[in-house]
């Protein structure tokens, strides 16, 4: 292929379909990941995220549609994955080899001087101490980190991570987020799949939200948030007074009492929120809590990915986690 690619797009997916008999796992997905993006591929489990990622890495054949990685087709040759690294589902290793031996094997399969980066990669993910132990004895978190180390051996320009925070404890999740930010700051493009909005919200600039194989939203998080409207939670010493003050405040709308006390409102901008806080203080309603509430984005995410009936089921089964906002919204 001698086509000139001045600004090859890291990932360009068009009309991607994967069918298993009757089941359509991935349904006509279009996706564009631009250089420098930290792109969140967001959707509930079973939405087809991993299947899409496998097709992007050339591991499974699409039923229809095309994948281009930096302009090249991963179905034709593994050469399309030059400068690409990552893992789908949990990263996997040879359990009977040590962590370092596993990396040596991968580096040998990478060529291109990857072997020289083994110790550096182990240090980056904090595994240097345990690298001599057999991977069979590694914890889930250690495997996850070894997976990142294995990816870094390739000095990728594009990193594809499938649910990287799954099964990590809070500290591990924070480390993972920091690492992704760090890698992104160094110029790497990152595609990150997740079923957790919070995880994506923290690190991604753009997202695609998938539901049963279809992309239902694609764009920047800022736009998505604007679509959702930013909600705030307000608790004061005098909620009755606060409500009257808020209702006449410019730029503040949708003031509603919360069942568990306090108010919620929408604000047109942060200046309106600042002005409200001053007005409240002057009125004698002293602020106990004034915070943005991302649950509205979460509501939007649920309604995009599951539909309202499903939000209902989640609430009943309790697996949605106590989300009073979603409940209040449902009740309204």
């Amino acid at each position: 292929m001698s086509r000139v690619m001045p600004e090859a797009v890291p990932i360009e997916v068009r009309g991607l379909v994967k069918r298993y008999g009757e089941l359509v796992a991935v349904d006509d997905v279009d996706l564009t990941v631009e250089p420098g993006d930290v792109f969140g591929y967001l959707g509930p489990n079973g939405a087809g995220k991993t299947t899409s990622l496998r097709m992007m890495l050339g591991l499974i054949r699409p039923t229809a549609g095309s994948v281009r990685i930096f302009g090249r087709d991963p179905q034709l040759s593994v050469k399309a994955l030059e400068g690409v690294a990552g893992f789908v589902e949990a990263p996997s290793f040879y359990p009977y080899l040590s962590g370092r031996e596993n990396l040596r094997l991968f580096a040998a399969f990478d060529g291109d001087g990857a072997a020289a980066r083994i110790e550096e990669s182990l240090a980056t993910v904090g595994l240097a101490e345990r690298a001599k132990d057999r991977v069979g004895g590694y914890s889930h978190g250690m495997r996850q980190r070894l997976g990142i180390a294995a990816a870094l051996l390739r000095r990728p320009r594009l990193l594809m991570l499938d649910e990287p925070a799954t099964g990590l404890d809070p500290g591990g999740m924070r480390d993972m987020r920091d690492l992704i930010r760090e890698l992104s700051a160094s110029g790497m493009t990152v595609l990150l799949s997740s079923h957790l909005l919070a995880e994506v919200e923290e690190v991604c600039n753009r997202v695609a939200i998938v539901r049963t194989g279809r992309v239902v939203y694609q764009g920047s998080l800022v736009d998505l948030r604007a679509q959702a409207g930013e909600d705030y939670v307000l608790r004061t010493t005098e909620d009755g007074v606060a409500r009257r003050v808020a209702e006449i405040q410019a730029g503040v709308t949708a003031v509603r009492p919360r069942p568990e006390g306090g108010l919620t409102f929408k604000a047109e901008g942060e200046d309106a929120v600042s002005a409200l806080s001053l007005a409240l203080t002057e009125s004698g309603a002293l602020i106990r809590e004034l915070s943005p509430r991302h649950a509205s984005l979460e509501d939007l995410f649920f309604s995009l990915t599951e539909g309202d009936e499903r939000v209902e089921t989640r609430r009943e089964s309790g697996e949605g986690g106590g989300d009073p906002a979603a409940r209040a919204k449902e009740a309204a």
């Binding site: 299947t51 496998r54 890495l57 050339g58 591991l59 499974i60 054949r61 040759s77 593994v78 050469k79 994955l81 030059e82 690409v84 690294a85 990552g86 893992f87 789908v88 589902e89 949990a90 990263p91 996997s92 290793f93 040879y94 359990p95 009977y96 080899l97 031996e101 094997l105 991968f106 040998a108 399969f109 990478d110 060529g111 291109d112 294995a150 390739r154």
Partner: protein, 272 residues
């Protein structure tokens, strides 16, 4: 510079060295001749109905030859299948296919590396059995001349050469079994199924050979090729079974390998 088949082959060997099943197979290949010789030394009888059986007490050279005959029923197919049936399926068990196929190696290179490592192991297993059987046999019965299948006496040194040649030629059907093991390992994606499948295949072919009325196909069964080396132990050398073994084994091995490659190249690597 992308790595090639040789790199993958070296790592496949390294992986085999780190796995217990490799030593289980090679251990069996070493222990069976020892048990055989111990039994021979402690008993006065010998299997007279088997070629070279009656010379077991006369010369150590007969020991590897008798073992080749006995081992063809299931021992060598099993030792071969132990690794051949596992080498692709193990990647499914550990879900590591996705890991190595997203590095800089093509699928056909991975398969080639695995096939070469499997063949290397099978060759090593036969070499181990042959060497141990020779040493133990010579210690027990001495390094003496042997009577060929044509009834002529062959000197010990010449006999040793013929035993080496027989062991070498025994690899032809063994590598065909290995190829079938590779196919099953690729298709079944499960070690146990592939190992048992390979062994069953080998046993079924032998059973076909004893069905009445099927005598005509007997020379073309895979199991028959395990006796082809006997052509070397006639004077003059009987090339008919030797040459037939070459092409008959190819008829079993080549389609199996082609099918395995095609499946491996086209398969979806999805953790199910």
């Amino acid at each position: 510079m992308n790595p090639g088949v040789l790199t993958i082959y070296r790592w496949e060997l390294r992986k085999l060295r780190a796995q217990k099943r490799t030593y289980l197979g090679l251990g069996a290949a070493a222990i069976v001749p020892i048990i055989f010789v111990v039994a021979l030394v402690t008993q006065s009888g010998q299997p007279n109905d088997v070629a070279f059986g009656r010379y077991l007490h006369d010369t150590g050279l007969a020991v590897p030859l008798v073992l080749l005959l006995f081992g063809s029923v299931w021992m060598f197919p099993l030792i071969t299948a132990l690794v051949a049936g596992d080498i692709v399926a193990a990647e499914d068990r550990n879900d590591t296919l996705k890991t190595i196929l997203t590095r800089s190696v093509e699928r056909h290179q991975v398969f080639a590396g695995k096939a070469l490592a499997t063949f290397t192991y099978a060759i090593l297993a036969i070499a181990v059995t042959g060497a141990v059987a020779l040493v133990a046999g010579i210690l027990a019965s001495g390094f003496n001349s042997i009577i060929s299948l044509s009834g002529t006496r062959v000197s010990a040194t010449e006999g040793l050469g013929l035993v080496g040649l027989s062991l070498l030629f025994y690899l032809v059907p063994i590598l065909a079994i290995a190829s079938i093991g590779l196919l099953f390992s690729t298709v079944f994606r499960n070690s146990a199924a592939a190992i048992v499948g390979t062994l069953m295949f080998s046993l079924l072919v032998q059973l076909i050979g004893i069905l009445p009325g099927l005598g005509g196909i007997h020379p073309y069964l895979l199991s028959t090729q395990f006796n082809a080396w006997q052509g070397f132990l006639r004077s003059p050398v009987d090339w008919t079974p030797v040459i037939r073994a070459l092409w008959v084994c190819a008829i079993y091995a080549v389609p199996a390998l082609i099918a395995a490659v095609l499946v491996f190249l086209r398969r979806d690597v999805a953790g199910d």
